[in-house]
Protein backbone atom coordinates (compact mmCIF):
# COMPACT_ATOMS: atom_id res chain seq x y z
CA UNK A 1 0.00 0.00 0.00
CA UNK A 2 2.82 2.39 1.02
CA UNK A 3 4.81 1.60 -2.12
CA UNK A 4 1.67 2.17 -4.22
CA UNK A 5 1.20 5.59 -2.59
CA UNK A 6 4.90 6.34 -3.07
CA UNK A 7 4.69 5.44 -6.75
CA UNK A 8 1.59 7.59 -7.17
CA UNK A 9 3.23 10.61 -5.50
CA UNK A 10 6.48 10.11 -7.47
CA UNK A 11 4.46 9.85 -10.70
CA UNK A 12 2.54 13.05 -9.90
CA UNK A 13 5.73 14.96 -9.05
CA UNK A 14 7.47 13.66 -12.19
CA UNK A 15 4.50 14.72 -14.29
CA UNK A 16 4.43 18.19 -12.71
CA UNK A 17 8.19 18.52 -13.24
CA UNK A 18 7.96 17.51 -16.92
CA UNK A 19 5.01 19.88 -17.43
CA UNK A 20 6.94 22.73 -15.79
CA UNK A 21 9.93 22.04 -18.08
CA UNK A 22 7.65 22.09 -21.15
CA UNK A 23 6.17 25.43 -20.07
CA UNK A 24 9.65 26.81 -19.34
CA UNK A 25 10.96 25.74 -22.77
CA UNK A 26 7.86 27.21 -24.45
CA UNK A 27 8.31 30.55 -22.69
CA UNK A 28 12.00 30.57 -23.64
CA UNK A 29 11.04 29.89 -27.24
CA UNK A 30 8.38 32.64 -27.16
CA UNK A 31 10.73 35.18 -25.60
CA UNK A 32 13.48 34.45 -28.13
CA UNK A 33 10.96 34.79 -30.98
CA UNK A 34 11.48 31.27 -32.37
CA UNK A 35 7.95 31.48 -33.72
CA UNK A 36 6.72 29.91 -36.96
CA UNK A 37 4.03 32.47 -37.87
CA UNK A 38 2.63 30.28 -40.64
CA UNK A 39 1.86 27.57 -38.10
CA UNK A 40 0.46 30.12 -35.65
CA UNK A 41 -1.93 31.36 -38.36
CA UNK A 42 -3.14 27.81 -39.04
CA UNK A 43 -3.64 27.18 -35.33
CA UNK A 44 -5.60 30.43 -34.98
CA UNK A 45 -7.86 29.13 -37.73
CA UNK A 46 -8.13 25.69 -36.12
CA UNK A 47 -8.68 26.87 -32.53
CA UNK A 48 -10.52 30.08 -33.27
CA UNK A 49 -12.53 29.80 -36.46
CA UNK A 50 -13.45 26.13 -36.11
CA UNK A 51 -14.58 26.60 -32.50
CA UNK A 52 -17.15 29.24 -33.47
CA UNK A 53 -20.27 27.03 -33.57
CA UNK A 54 -19.62 25.32 -30.25
CA UNK A 55 -18.73 28.57 -28.48
CA UNK A 56 -21.68 30.52 -29.88
CA UNK A 57 -24.18 27.77 -29.05
CA UNK A 58 -22.75 27.42 -25.53
CA UNK A 59 -22.81 31.19 -24.95
CA UNK A 60 -26.32 31.67 -26.31
CA UNK A 61 -27.98 28.88 -24.37
CA UNK A 62 -26.12 29.67 -21.16
CA UNK A 63 -27.33 33.28 -21.33
CA UNK A 64 -30.87 32.14 -22.16
CA UNK A 65 -31.18 29.59 -19.38
CA UNK A 66 -29.57 31.97 -16.90
CA UNK A 67 -32.10 34.68 -17.79
CA UNK A 68 -35.01 32.26 -17.37
CA UNK A 69 -33.76 30.96 -14.00
CA UNK A 70 -32.93 34.43 -12.71
CA UNK A 71 -36.32 35.72 -13.79
CA UNK A 72 -38.18 32.96 -11.90
CA UNK A 73 -36.31 33.86 -8.70
CA UNK A 74 -36.37 37.65 -9.09
CA UNK A 75 -40.03 37.67 -10.09
CA UNK A 76 -40.94 36.36 -6.62
CA UNK A 77 -39.41 39.46 -5.00
CA UNK A 78 -40.52 41.87 -7.73
CA UNK A 79 -37.02 42.44 -9.06
CA UNK A 80 -37.65 41.35 -12.66
CA UNK A 81 -35.53 44.11 -14.17
CA UNK A 82 -32.42 42.86 -12.33
CA UNK A 83 -32.45 39.73 -14.52
CA UNK A 84 -30.27 41.07 -17.30
CA UNK A 85 -27.84 42.64 -14.80
CA UNK A 86 -27.28 39.19 -13.30
CA UNK A 87 -26.86 37.68 -16.74
CA UNK A 88 -24.34 40.38 -17.70
CA UNK A 89 -22.19 40.08 -14.58
CA UNK A 90 -22.27 36.26 -14.58
CA UNK A 91 -21.49 35.95 -18.28
CA UNK A 92 -18.65 38.49 -18.17
CA UNK A 93 -16.73 37.38 -15.12
CA UNK A 94 -17.56 33.68 -14.69
CA UNK A 95 -19.73 31.77 -17.13
CA UNK A 96 -18.37 33.30 -20.33
CA UNK A 97 -14.69 32.48 -19.74
CA UNK A 98 -15.23 29.21 -17.84
CA UNK A 99 -17.80 27.59 -20.13
CA UNK A 100 -16.02 28.75 -23.29
CA UNK A 101 -12.77 27.31 -21.94
CA UNK A 102 -14.39 24.01 -20.96
CA UNK A 103 -15.92 23.64 -24.42
CA UNK A 104 -12.65 24.57 -26.15
CA UNK A 105 -10.78 22.16 -23.84
CA UNK A 106 -13.10 19.39 -25.05
CA UNK A 107 -12.66 20.21 -28.71
CA UNK A 108 -9.16 21.66 -29.03
CA UNK A 109 -7.35 20.11 -26.05
CA UNK A 110 -8.38 16.64 -27.20
CA UNK A 111 -7.38 17.34 -30.81
CA UNK A 112 -3.97 18.71 -29.79
CA UNK A 113 -3.24 15.71 -27.56
CA UNK A 114 -4.40 13.23 -30.23
CA UNK A 115 -2.41 14.87 -33.03
CA UNK A 116 0.82 15.24 -31.09
CA UNK A 117 0.35 11.83 -29.45
CA UNK A 118 -0.03 10.15 -32.85
CA UNK A 119 3.07 12.01 -34.06
CA UNK A 120 4.95 10.67 -31.06
CA UNK A 121 3.96 7.02 -31.48
CA UNK A 122 4.69 7.10 -35.23
CA UNK A 123 8.17 8.58 -34.56
CA UNK A 124 7.27 11.86 -36.29
CA UNK A 125 8.47 13.83 -33.26
CA UNK A 126 11.80 11.97 -33.37
CA UNK A 127 11.94 12.76 -37.10
CA UNK A 128 11.45 16.45 -36.28
CA UNK A 129 14.34 16.29 -33.84
CA UNK A 130 16.62 14.59 -36.38
CA UNK A 131 15.75 17.40 -38.81
CA UNK A 132 17.29 19.83 -36.33
CA UNK A 133 13.92 21.19 -35.21
CA UNK A 134 13.00 21.60 -31.56
CA UNK A 135 9.54 20.01 -31.04
CA UNK A 136 8.62 22.77 -28.58
CA UNK A 137 9.31 25.48 -31.20
CA UNK A 138 7.44 23.66 -33.92
CA UNK A 139 4.56 21.95 -32.11
CA UNK A 140 3.93 23.63 -28.77
CA UNK A 141 4.62 27.34 -29.29
CA UNK A 142 2.24 27.89 -32.27
CA UNK A 143 -0.59 26.14 -30.42
CA UNK A 144 0.11 27.95 -27.16
CA UNK A 145 0.33 31.36 -28.81
CA UNK A 146 -2.76 30.77 -30.92
CA UNK A 147 -4.81 29.62 -27.90
CA UNK A 148 -3.71 32.65 -25.86
CA UNK A 149 -4.60 35.02 -28.70
CA UNK A 150 -7.89 33.39 -29.66
CA UNK A 151 -9.48 32.61 -26.28
CA UNK A 152 -10.30 36.23 -25.34
CA UNK A 153 -12.02 36.69 -28.71
CA UNK A 154 -14.03 33.49 -28.30
CA UNK A 155 -14.92 34.49 -24.74
CA UNK A 156 -16.01 37.97 -25.85
CA UNK A 157 -18.24 36.35 -28.47
CA UNK A 158 -19.75 33.97 -25.91
CA UNK A 159 -20.39 36.85 -23.49
CA UNK A 160 -22.00 38.98 -26.18
CA UNK A 161 -24.23 36.27 -27.54
CA UNK A 162 -25.04 35.10 -24.00
CA UNK A 163 -26.26 38.57 -23.04
CA UNK A 164 -28.17 38.82 -26.32
CA UNK A 165 -29.76 35.43 -25.64
CA UNK A 166 -30.63 36.50 -22.10
CA UNK A 167 -32.14 39.72 -23.41
CA UNK A 168 -34.17 37.80 -25.97
CA UNK A 169 -35.56 35.40 -23.37
CA UNK A 170 -36.07 38.04 -20.68
CA UNK A 171 -37.59 40.80 -22.77
CA UNK A 172 -39.01 38.87 -25.71
CA UNK A 173 -40.28 35.75 -24.00
CA UNK A 174 -40.85 36.62 -20.35
CA UNK A 175 -41.96 40.23 -20.88
CA UNK A 176 -39.47 42.09 -18.67
CA UNK A 177 -39.31 45.82 -19.27
CA UNK A 178 -36.62 46.38 -21.89
CA UNK A 179 -35.49 49.86 -20.87
CA UNK A 180 -35.05 49.15 -17.16
CA UNK A 181 -33.42 45.82 -17.88
CA UNK A 182 -30.90 47.38 -20.20
CA UNK A 183 -30.25 50.28 -17.83
CA UNK A 184 -29.70 47.92 -14.87
CA UNK A 185 -27.40 45.71 -16.88
CA UNK A 186 -25.21 48.68 -17.88
CA UNK A 187 -25.25 49.93 -14.31
CA UNK A 188 -24.17 46.68 -12.65
CA UNK A 189 -21.99 45.12 -15.35
CA UNK A 190 -18.78 47.10 -15.10
CA UNK A 191 -15.55 47.23 -17.12
CA UNK A 192 -13.70 45.26 -14.39
CA UNK A 193 -16.20 42.38 -14.82
CA UNK A 194 -15.41 42.27 -18.50
CA UNK A 195 -11.65 42.65 -17.90
CA UNK A 196 -11.70 39.80 -15.37
CA UNK A 197 -13.39 37.54 -17.95
CA UNK A 198 -10.84 38.35 -20.64
CA UNK A 199 -7.83 37.95 -18.32
CA UNK A 200 -9.18 34.59 -17.20
CA UNK A 201 -9.68 33.49 -20.81
CA UNK A 202 -6.02 34.23 -21.67
CA UNK A 203 -4.87 32.08 -18.76
CA UNK A 204 -7.35 29.31 -19.60
CA UNK A 205 -6.15 29.33 -23.23
CA UNK A 206 -2.60 28.77 -22.00
CA UNK A 207 -3.80 25.93 -19.75
CA UNK A 208 -5.70 24.16 -22.56
CA UNK A 209 -2.84 24.33 -25.09
CA UNK A 210 -0.03 23.51 -22.66
CA UNK A 211 -1.82 20.52 -21.10
CA UNK A 212 -2.90 19.22 -24.53
CA UNK A 213 0.66 19.50 -25.84
CA UNK A 214 2.15 17.98 -22.68
CA UNK A 215 -0.22 15.02 -22.74
CA UNK A 216 0.49 14.46 -26.46
CA UNK A 217 4.24 14.65 -26.05
CA UNK A 218 4.30 12.32 -23.05
CA UNK A 219 1.82 9.84 -24.52
CA UNK A 220 2.52 6.10 -24.25
CA UNK A 221 2.94 3.79 -27.24
CA UNK A 222 -0.01 2.49 -29.22
CA UNK A 223 -3.62 3.39 -29.87
CA UNK A 224 -4.47 2.95 -26.17
CA UNK A 225 -1.75 5.44 -25.23
CA UNK A 226 -3.12 8.05 -27.64
CA UNK A 227 -6.67 7.47 -26.37
CA UNK A 228 -5.57 7.86 -22.78
CA UNK A 229 -3.57 11.01 -23.55
CA UNK A 230 -6.63 12.52 -25.24
CA UNK A 231 -8.94 11.71 -22.33
CA UNK A 232 -6.44 12.99 -19.76
CA UNK A 233 -5.85 16.20 -21.71
CA UNK A 234 -9.55 17.08 -21.50
CA UNK A 235 -9.93 15.88 -17.93
CA UNK A 236 -6.86 17.68 -16.52
CA UNK A 237 -7.54 20.86 -18.52
CA UNK A 238 -11.10 21.01 -17.18
CA UNK A 239 -10.06 20.38 -13.59
CA UNK A 240 -7.19 22.88 -13.73
CA UNK A 241 -9.49 25.49 -15.31
CA UNK A 242 -12.10 25.08 -12.56
CA UNK A 243 -9.54 25.23 -9.74
CA UNK A 244 -7.62 28.11 -11.31
CA UNK A 245 -10.90 29.97 -11.82
CA UNK A 246 -11.59 29.98 -8.08
CA UNK A 247 -8.21 31.51 -7.24
CA UNK A 248 -8.39 33.94 -10.16
CA UNK A 249 -11.81 35.13 -9.00
CA UNK A 250 -10.39 35.94 -5.57
CA UNK A 251 -7.18 37.45 -6.91
CA UNK A 252 -8.67 39.51 -9.72
CA UNK A 253 -11.61 40.55 -7.52
CA UNK A 254 -9.13 42.03 -5.06
CA UNK A 255 -7.11 43.56 -7.86
CA UNK A 256 -10.13 45.29 -9.38
CA UNK A 257 -11.63 46.10 -5.95
CA UNK A 258 -14.79 44.09 -6.62
CA UNK A 259 -14.40 41.83 -3.57
Amino acid sequence: MTSLAQRFITGCLQGLGSYALLVKESLFSLLTFKIAWRDVTYQIYFIGVKSQPVVLITGAFTGMVLAAQAYYQFHQVKMDTATLALVGVSMCSELGPVLTSLMVAGRVGAAIAAEIGTMRVTEQIDALRTLATHPIDYLVVPRLLAAILVMPILTAEAITIGIAGGYGVGVGLLGIDATYSWHNMLRYTTIPDYAIGLIKSVIFGGIIASIGCYKGMSCREGAEGVGQATTEAVMYSSIVILITNFFLTLLLGRLFHII
Binding site: T122, D126, R129, T130, L131, A132
Partner: protein, 243 residues
Protein backbone atom coordinates in the same frame (compact mmCIF):
# COMPACT_ATOMS: atom_id res chain seq x y z
CA UNK B 1 34.43 10.48 -36.83
CA UNK B 2 31.90 8.86 -34.50
CA UNK B 3 33.01 7.18 -31.30
CA UNK B 4 30.79 5.31 -28.87
CA UNK B 5 32.46 4.78 -25.48
CA UNK B 6 31.29 2.29 -22.89
CA UNK B 7 27.61 3.11 -23.47
CA UNK B 8 25.15 1.80 -20.90
CA UNK B 9 21.38 2.14 -21.08
CA UNK B 10 18.51 0.56 -19.25
CA UNK B 11 14.76 1.15 -19.33
CA UNK B 12 13.62 0.75 -15.74
CA UNK B 13 15.22 -2.39 -14.35
CA UNK B 14 15.78 -3.83 -17.85
CA UNK B 15 19.34 -3.28 -19.18
CA UNK B 16 19.49 -2.81 -22.96
CA UNK B 17 23.10 -1.78 -23.60
CA UNK B 18 25.87 -2.72 -21.19
CA UNK B 19 29.19 -1.16 -22.14
CA UNK B 20 29.00 -0.80 -25.93
CA UNK B 21 32.11 0.72 -27.55
CA UNK B 22 33.10 1.16 -31.19
CA UNK B 23 34.30 3.76 -33.69
CA UNK B 24 33.18 4.73 -37.18
CA UNK B 25 35.55 6.50 -39.53
CA UNK B 26 34.38 9.33 -41.80
CA UNK B 27 32.98 7.95 -45.05
CA UNK B 28 32.68 4.42 -43.66
CA UNK B 29 29.53 2.34 -44.00
CA UNK B 30 28.85 0.40 -40.80
CA UNK B 31 26.10 -2.17 -40.37
CA UNK B 32 24.83 -3.05 -36.90
CA UNK B 33 23.21 -6.48 -36.75
CA UNK B 34 21.63 -8.37 -33.89
CA UNK B 35 18.44 -10.04 -32.79
CA UNK B 36 15.12 -8.22 -32.59
CA UNK B 37 14.81 -6.35 -29.30
CA UNK B 38 18.57 -6.54 -28.83
CA UNK B 39 19.06 -2.76 -28.61
CA UNK B 40 20.16 -1.90 -32.18
CA UNK B 41 17.64 0.91 -32.66
CA UNK B 42 18.31 2.14 -29.11
CA UNK B 43 22.02 2.33 -29.98
CA UNK B 44 21.24 4.23 -33.19
CA UNK B 45 19.05 6.71 -31.29
CA UNK B 46 21.93 7.36 -28.87
CA UNK B 47 24.22 8.20 -31.79
CA UNK B 48 21.92 11.05 -32.88
CA UNK B 49 21.05 12.08 -29.32
CA UNK B 50 17.39 11.02 -29.35
CA UNK B 51 18.06 9.02 -26.18
CA UNK B 52 20.31 9.82 -23.22
CA UNK B 53 22.47 6.97 -21.86
CA UNK B 54 22.79 6.04 -18.20
CA UNK B 55 26.56 6.31 -18.62
CA UNK B 56 29.18 6.39 -21.34
CA UNK B 57 29.77 8.84 -24.17
CA UNK B 58 28.95 9.39 -27.84
CA UNK B 59 31.50 11.59 -29.57
CA UNK B 60 30.63 13.23 -32.88
CA UNK B 61 33.76 14.85 -34.31
CA UNK B 62 35.27 14.73 -30.78
CA UNK B 63 32.22 16.44 -29.19
CA UNK B 64 30.39 14.48 -26.49
CA UNK B 65 26.68 14.81 -27.29
CA UNK B 66 25.42 12.91 -24.26
CA UNK B 67 25.69 15.96 -21.98
CA UNK B 68 24.12 18.39 -24.45
CA UNK B 69 20.71 20.00 -24.03
CA UNK B 70 18.03 19.60 -26.71
CA UNK B 71 18.84 23.08 -28.06
CA UNK B 72 22.60 22.39 -28.21
CA UNK B 73 21.86 19.13 -30.03
CA UNK B 74 20.14 21.02 -32.87
CA UNK B 75 23.56 22.18 -34.15
CA UNK B 76 25.02 18.64 -34.00
CA UNK B 77 21.94 17.07 -35.59
CA UNK B 78 22.28 19.26 -38.65
CA UNK B 79 25.18 16.93 -39.58
CA UNK B 80 22.79 13.96 -39.56
CA UNK B 81 20.06 12.53 -41.69
CA UNK B 82 17.98 9.63 -40.42
CA UNK B 83 15.68 7.17 -42.15
CA UNK B 84 13.19 5.65 -39.74
CA UNK B 85 11.85 2.10 -39.72
CA UNK B 86 8.31 3.33 -40.53
CA UNK B 87 9.66 6.29 -42.57
CA UNK B 88 8.07 8.74 -40.03
CA UNK B 89 6.82 11.05 -42.78
CA UNK B 90 4.70 13.97 -41.59
CA UNK B 91 1.24 12.77 -42.59
CA UNK B 92 -0.27 16.26 -42.59
CA UNK B 93 2.09 17.30 -45.42
CA UNK B 94 2.61 16.35 -49.06
CA UNK B 95 5.74 14.55 -50.22
CA UNK B 96 7.26 17.86 -51.40
CA UNK B 97 6.52 19.54 -48.06
CA UNK B 98 8.08 16.59 -46.22
CA UNK B 99 11.27 16.69 -48.29
CA UNK B 100 11.44 20.50 -48.15
CA UNK B 101 10.91 20.58 -44.38
CA UNK B 102 14.58 21.21 -43.42
CA UNK B 103 14.74 24.20 -45.82
CA UNK B 104 11.50 25.78 -44.68
CA UNK B 105 12.82 25.89 -41.14
CA UNK B 106 16.19 27.35 -42.26
CA UNK B 107 14.59 30.06 -44.43
CA UNK B 108 17.81 30.39 -46.48
CA UNK B 109 16.43 29.47 -49.89
CA UNK B 110 13.79 30.83 -52.25
CA UNK B 111 10.70 28.77 -53.16
CA UNK B 112 12.23 28.08 -56.59
CA UNK B 113 15.50 26.80 -55.11
CA UNK B 114 13.62 24.63 -52.63
CA UNK B 115 11.47 23.12 -55.41
CA UNK B 116 14.62 22.33 -57.42
CA UNK B 117 16.35 20.69 -54.44
CA UNK B 118 13.23 18.63 -53.66
CA UNK B 119 13.02 17.45 -57.28
CA UNK B 120 16.74 16.51 -57.22
CA UNK B 121 16.34 14.54 -53.98
CA UNK B 122 13.29 12.71 -55.36
CA UNK B 123 15.22 11.94 -58.56
CA UNK B 124 18.05 10.52 -56.45
CA UNK B 125 15.62 8.07 -54.81
CA UNK B 126 14.03 7.31 -58.21
CA UNK B 127 10.64 8.81 -57.37
CA UNK B 128 10.33 11.81 -59.70
CA UNK B 129 7.01 13.63 -60.02
CA UNK B 130 5.34 12.52 -56.78
CA UNK B 131 5.68 15.89 -55.04
CA UNK B 132 1.95 16.44 -54.60
CA UNK B 133 1.09 13.00 -53.22
CA UNK B 134 0.31 12.44 -49.55
CA UNK B 135 2.26 9.86 -47.49
CA UNK B 136 -0.96 7.82 -47.12
CA UNK B 137 -1.03 7.35 -50.92
CA UNK B 138 2.44 5.74 -50.99
CA UNK B 139 3.50 2.10 -50.62
CA UNK B 140 5.90 1.02 -47.85
CA UNK B 141 8.91 1.07 -50.17
CA UNK B 142 8.00 4.50 -51.58
CA UNK B 143 7.57 5.92 -48.09
CA UNK B 144 11.07 4.72 -47.14
CA UNK B 145 12.50 6.29 -50.28
CA UNK B 146 10.77 9.59 -49.51
CA UNK B 147 12.13 9.30 -45.96
CA UNK B 148 15.59 8.86 -47.48
CA UNK B 149 15.06 11.86 -49.81
CA UNK B 150 14.13 13.97 -46.76
CA UNK B 151 17.20 12.72 -44.89
CA UNK B 152 19.68 13.54 -47.68
CA UNK B 153 18.15 16.67 -49.21
CA UNK B 154 20.30 19.04 -47.11
CA UNK B 155 23.43 16.93 -47.75
CA UNK B 156 24.24 15.73 -44.22
CA UNK B 157 27.63 14.23 -43.33
CA UNK B 158 26.17 11.18 -41.59
CA UNK B 159 23.09 9.15 -42.59
CA UNK B 160 21.49 6.67 -40.18
CA UNK B 161 19.11 3.95 -41.38
CA UNK B 162 16.86 2.13 -38.90
CA UNK B 163 15.93 -1.22 -40.46
CA UNK B 164 15.52 0.20 -43.98
CA UNK B 165 14.40 -3.06 -45.60
CA UNK B 166 12.14 -4.46 -42.87
CA UNK B 167 8.69 -5.35 -44.17
CA UNK B 168 9.61 -4.93 -47.84
CA UNK B 169 9.65 -7.59 -50.54
CA UNK B 170 13.10 -8.80 -51.79
CA UNK B 171 12.97 -6.71 -54.97
CA UNK B 172 12.13 -3.46 -53.17
CA UNK B 173 14.70 -4.35 -50.48
CA UNK B 174 17.30 -4.76 -53.21
CA UNK B 175 16.48 -1.34 -54.66
CA UNK B 176 16.75 0.24 -51.19
CA UNK B 177 20.17 -1.41 -50.70
CA UNK B 178 21.33 0.00 -54.04
CA UNK B 179 20.08 3.42 -53.00
CA UNK B 180 21.99 3.27 -49.71
CA UNK B 181 25.18 2.33 -51.59
CA UNK B 182 24.59 5.11 -54.13
CA UNK B 183 23.97 7.73 -51.44
CA UNK B 184 27.09 6.64 -49.51
CA UNK B 185 29.26 6.80 -52.64
CA UNK B 186 27.78 9.87 -54.38
CA UNK B 187 27.39 12.08 -51.31
CA UNK B 188 30.50 10.70 -49.52
CA UNK B 189 28.57 10.33 -46.28
CA UNK B 190 29.24 8.20 -43.22
CA UNK B 191 26.54 5.53 -43.13
CA UNK B 192 25.20 3.52 -40.21
CA UNK B 193 22.60 0.87 -40.99
CA UNK B 194 20.73 -1.11 -38.35
CA UNK B 195 19.29 -4.30 -39.81
CA UNK B 196 18.70 -7.99 -39.30
CA UNK B 197 18.48 -8.54 -43.04
CA UNK B 198 21.76 -10.40 -43.64
CA UNK B 199 21.68 -10.01 -47.41
CA UNK B 200 21.35 -6.26 -47.00
CA UNK B 201 24.12 -6.19 -44.36
CA UNK B 202 26.50 -7.97 -46.68
CA UNK B 203 25.83 -5.59 -49.56
CA UNK B 204 25.83 -2.17 -47.92
CA UNK B 205 28.43 -2.53 -45.15
CA UNK B 206 32.15 -1.85 -45.26
CA UNK B 207 32.14 -3.25 -41.74
CA UNK B 208 29.62 -5.19 -39.65
CA UNK B 209 29.28 -5.16 -35.87
CA UNK B 210 27.06 -7.66 -34.08
CA UNK B 211 25.20 -6.68 -30.93
CA UNK B 212 24.60 -9.64 -28.64
CA UNK B 213 23.87 -9.83 -24.92
CA UNK B 214 23.87 -6.02 -24.68
CA UNK B 215 27.47 -5.74 -25.95
CA UNK B 216 29.37 -5.70 -29.24
CA UNK B 217 29.94 -9.41 -29.75
CA UNK B 218 31.70 -9.45 -33.12
CA UNK B 219 33.13 -6.91 -35.52
CA UNK B 220 34.73 -7.25 -38.94
CA UNK B 221 34.36 -6.90 -42.68
CA UNK B 222 31.30 -8.59 -44.22
CA UNK B 223 33.63 -11.36 -45.48
CA UNK B 224 35.02 -11.94 -41.95
CA UNK B 225 31.58 -12.03 -40.37
CA UNK B 226 30.07 -14.33 -42.99
CA UNK B 227 33.06 -16.68 -42.75
CA UNK B 228 32.94 -16.70 -38.94
CA UNK B 229 32.80 -20.06 -37.21
CA UNK B 230 31.64 -18.57 -33.89
CA UNK B 231 28.43 -20.44 -32.98
CA UNK B 232 26.52 -17.27 -31.96
CA UNK B 233 27.45 -15.41 -35.15
CA UNK B 234 26.82 -18.52 -37.23
CA UNK B 235 23.41 -19.07 -35.68
CA UNK B 236 22.36 -15.48 -36.48
CA UNK B 237 23.71 -15.57 -40.05
CA UNK B 238 22.13 -18.95 -40.79
CA UNK B 239 18.89 -17.95 -39.07
CA UNK B 240 18.64 -21.02 -36.86
CA UNK B 241 16.29 -20.92 -33.85
CA UNK B 242 17.46 -22.04 -30.41
CA UNK B 243 16.96 -25.79 -29.99
Amino acid sequence: MIEVRDLKKSFGPQPILDGVSFQIETGESLVIIGRSGGGKSVLLKHIIGLLQPNSGAVLIDSEDITRMSERELIRVRSKFGMVFQGAALFDSMTVAENVAFPFRRQKKFTEKEIARKVAEALDMVELPGIEKKRPSELSGGMRKRVGLARAIVYQPQIVLYDEPTTGLDPIVSDSIDKLIIRVTECLKVTTIVVTHDMRSARRVGHRIVMLHNKKIYASGTPEDIFASKDPVVRQFIDGVADP
